[in-house]
Point group: C2
Chain length 137, copies 2
Amino acid sequence: MITYKKVLQDAGITPSMQRIKILEYLDKNRVHPSADTIYKALKKDMPTLSKTTVYNTLKTLVEHNVLTELSLYDNEIRYEYNQDQHIHFKCIECRKVYDIDKKYKCYKNEIIEGHKVLDHQVILKGVCKHCLEKRKK
Amino acid sequence: MITYKKVLQDAGITPSMQRIKILEYLDKNRVHPSADTIYKALKKDMPTLSKTTVYNTLKTLVEHNVLTELSLYDNEIRYEYNQDQHIHFKCIECRKVYDIDKKYKCYKNEIIEGHKVLDHQVILKGVCKHCLEKRKK
DNA sequence: ATCATTGCAAACACTTTGCATACGC
DNA sequence: GCGTATGCAAAGTGTTTGCAATGAT
């Protein structure tokens, strides 16, 4: 059984209560949350938690490749623990982000036109299933 | 010959000096500028230009499909006039954005898992050619 | 005269920074 | 005890909003 503590240690990050809880939240709530969403959710059980700690932790986790940063037009960074290849669909009406299980030619770790690729993202923008339904009414 | 005035009219936007200048800047400076970059560049020749107008105009142009919004990790929106299919490479060191001429299966205007796709973007993140060179030294 | 566009200032939202306190080996 | 992690407050940055002034037909 893999614990969050072990995930952090394997990534070379000193485990702490805050770090474990943040990682756990991202593992159990696969909704591409922002720093603020994570902060508000965890604040309930950890009243002393600071937003700075959330930002610090997320930055550390991204630097150690435990999390992926998503840039999804909202002028806020969203975070994701899922490392399987998939694409993102962002609804321009409800702002929700859906994972779409489609494969694509990934350039990660390749050299393209001389540039070293470290991350590859595919983002679709549009109107989601549910918002399309609402429009019909 | 296609004028910026005509591009705006065809898109259903009332042409104005400000709007024409902003569109012209984006056509002639294909560097994926932010609102602030555009503002600072145009301010020189148009001292009365307001940042609000830049934001208003960019929003209008995006809504009418004249421009594309890019979300490139910087917590600022970048804008692009080029509508040809290509992918973006963002350097994490110098922050520059490169256009890469690679084709991909585009889902634009298709329905995917019930969602209507209006825009499709591919973003690579990594270290660019020039920053790789600098590292070697 | 009317309606849309422009522009200023203030408000907002997300993130970062500086620094003091607390924690863990 | 020492080095790192945490947390508060303030500052920084990009964007939006309210509203008055301006401009075009």
